[in-house]
Symmetry: C2
Subunit: 469 residues, 2 copies
């Protein structure tokens, strides 16, 4: 049922003077899905570069209690931009004019619709680095990364998106424009609204500008590939390196299913008979890098790697990282539906989590692929299935629930970097407890009394259960 | 006027079974001040190691609307633990039993009363580092650091306390025990309550346990001292080094007044005729360190340092850093009252902020000493005065207000690391705007409807003005 009426549209047309209002179903259709599960048609889509117009729109929507869903490039794997309650989708991808690098302050100031990889490039041109590097960075917007607090392979050494955001401009759920934080790394002036908004999945406001912290770009980097006959050994190698005093910039795991999927997708010469491989990237000063590369290679052999390779040149190195990036598209070809999880455990629990995942796979007879950012405990167990197969999907639902339980039991979390969205909402109380969840709800209610900002996300509806059918 | 009655004390005695209840004025007196300005006697002081007892106490206090002020070692420079509305002070310094280092997970789990320097030591014994290093770390508790989001010299390269906290156990203002975050660096399960609580100055709950992120300890470090005939040149040297691609672990500034004060306090052979000196610490791999030390020394000379010294051995190096640590005690001897500020500006504005500070000093004829963590824009302008001198204190009040205005005008913030407390509360709206401040108040109200947790901090009372007399 539509929540936006003709009366609303007339008013919205009076507010949005410089932008576009999409009303035709054919236009709205492409705003009905993202990188996750499920399709929800918005009533109306707004495109404007004017923050003032957007603020007026939110004020109106708040009075009329119309849901508002901010959206970037919709690469979300948890349903972040889906208009699950209908209403207005705001397409922020077109708000992409500002991308300033302030070298001396080591900051970037950006519009919400700027692509993350464009920030990487602009920073690099000045000898700087914006570390957060989600795998989608070449297609995802910075505000999408901010809303979901995106991670990526560099989380291990450099942390996540939140660690690099020091200031925001947002439109509150009542349509006011406020600034949080600022241009300084140190700031203790009141509550940290910046870090509250980052990762709040669009439920507390619309991000219209961000100030990001940059760091000097490491002078050099190098890659190691280690191949294992046993998944748990690969997990042990990761633990061993981390406790040796070396802090790699990336440490990625691919299990046999991932290796085979990539080779079938695009033959790159990966060892399809191996149980697992890990890809390690180290960065820093060229002199220290050389020594640490050797040390890490020795450690991998010590814990039982059957082969340790250092690419001979940048082309070979690029090829290896391409293999890792291809896992997701490669496994998507096996069956029509891909359920991509990001349950995360303390680093030392990686081997145990790997074992649990193998047990879950066997117990429910599912096609499970395990890869991900093993160095920070953030695995990506992906279930490859067919959503039209009712019987299979029941098993998938049970397996997903058991993966979440395993992560929480091992001292980990439901979501390391994808966000809660709709699918994980039913499991929130398991991790947070009723009071913990209530303390979050209180913030939502205090900021958004009419529940217009991205409703249906994060917080479970009464009695809500995981439903993939 | 007391808010705790005999009836309350009877009830509290029934709740606190394993700890101590301090009622005598002589016992309570030592809980009436901290490292800042002003004296406020609590009605009652509680010491217990039992989190359950504390939770019950908070439940009772919430019903009775009695203020609760959590307190560590009371080194706060902004009045954090002062019971400005009377009520109960909770002495968390005795809750110090837990200090576990989990090497493989790169985390520490600690009780609130553990001294920060004890965490440094425990981490170092395992080859790890807990980077936040406020100058008070040998006497301040970790929960105090958490409540105020303490900074320190290493903020430049390593960030602040908040950047190393990934999980908390807290007692909410209604007396419930909740856990936030966890043991993983990546965690996007709902709102980030951990980073909301860190820096909230005890107004959102009592921290009873913390999970801290550790990193491998850098293998080597080295120090450079550069001496300048001009304060603004020293500021430029800092900017120059930062934009050269070198990221020092510390970059500290001392102006002539600080140098003279230290030499008068304890002669260390510092150049008292110099306008300023900067102390730079670099850390990392021994090979890269050597090269970066040379590069930084050259850069200092390029922008006009009259002398650049590298200590010949660790003893000389320790002596230099001792000089920096002595600034605060040394200037405290000049006159009885020290107003220690921490207004922070974007790094590139350091030279301009230095100029503004010199103008403010001359305009109001005050004794101003400037030192601090210049590498991250976090200066410490200290005003040395005598609070019994009414006429002088009026000029000091005007100067302080002008320092805050200068920081905000230059795109900076009221407080980089000390917190808002009571003294800076009147300036909150200047930085945040009315709506920004209101969004913070809404969180406070939603979590603490009876306003019992550390009332009188952060949020200005209607019409509140800076008052140092």
């Amino acid at each position: 049922m539509k929540v936006v009426t003709d009366y609303h549209i007339e008013n919205i047309e009076a507010i949005i003077k410089t932008g576009r209002i999409l009303i035709d179903e054919s236009d709205r259709f492409s705003y009905s899905f993202d990188g996750s599960f499920g399709t929800y048609l918005p009533d109306i889509v707004i495109q404007t570069k004017s923050v003032d117009e957007l603020a007026s729109l939110v004020k109106f929507a708040n009075c009329e209690k119309i849901p508002i869903c901010p959206r970037g490039q919709a690469t979300s794997l948890s349903g972040g931009p889906l208009p699950v309650k209908g209403g207005i989708v705001i397409d922020l991808s077109i708000m992409n004019d500002l991308l300033e690098i302030h070298e001396e302050d080591l900051i970037a100031i950006v519009s919400p619709g700027v692509l993350t990889s464009d920030i990487h490039k602009a920073a690099e041109q000045k000898g700087l680095m914006y570390p957060p590097d989600p795998s989608s960075s070449h297609v995802s917007t910075i505000a999408g990364n901010l809303a979901e607090n995106s991670g990526g392979p560099r989380g291990l050494k450099y942390g996540v998106t939140k660690d690099y955001v020091i200031g925001l401009e947002i439109i509150t759920p009542e349509g006011e424009i406020i600034k949080t934080g600022g241009k300084t790394v140190k700031n203790v002036t009141g509550y940290d609204l910046t870090k509250l908004i980052v990762g709040s999945e669009g439920t507390l406001g619309i991000i219209t500008k961000a100030i990001l912290r940059l760091i000097p770009k490491p002078q050099a980097s190098g890659t190691i590939m280690a191949i294992f006959d046993n998944l748990v050994d690969a997990g042990s190698a990761i633990s061993k390196i981390l406790s040796s005093g070396i802090l790699p910039s990336k440490m990625e795991l691919m299990d046999q299913s991932s290796i085979v999927a990539v080779e079938n997708f695009e033959p790159l010469g990966l060892p399809t008979d191996a149980a697992a491989l890990i890809l390690i990237e180290l960065d820093g000063h060229p002199l220290s890098l050389k020594e640490e590369m050797e040390q890490a290679a020795v450690l991998c052999r010590t814990v039982g790697a059957r082969e340790v390779t250092i690419p001979k040149n940048k082309a070979e190195e690029t090829e290896l990282w391409k293999a890792r990036k291809l896992v997701s598209p490669a496994i998507a070809r096996i069956k029509p539906t891909k359920i991509s999880e990001d349950a995360t455990v303390p680093r030392s629990k990686i081997p145990e989590m790997c074992e649990r995942l193998l047990n879950i796979r066997d117990k429910y007879g599912i096609h499970l692929v395990v890869f991900g950012h093993a160095g920070d405990g953030n695995l990506h167990p992906n279930i490859i299935c067919d959503k039209t197969d009712q019987e299979e999907m029941i098993r998938v639902e049970q397996a997903v629930a058991e993966i979440f339980t395993a992560a929480v039991e091992l001292g980990g979390t439901l979501s390391g970097e994808h966000g809660i969205g709709t699918m994980k909402a039913p499991f929130m109380e398991m991790e947070l407890g009723a009071v913990g969840l209530d303390m979050m709800k209180r913030i939502k209610k205090a900021w958004d009394p009419n529940n217009i900002m991205n409703p249906g996300k994060i917080f479970p509806e009464p009695g809500q259960k995981l439903e993939l059918r």
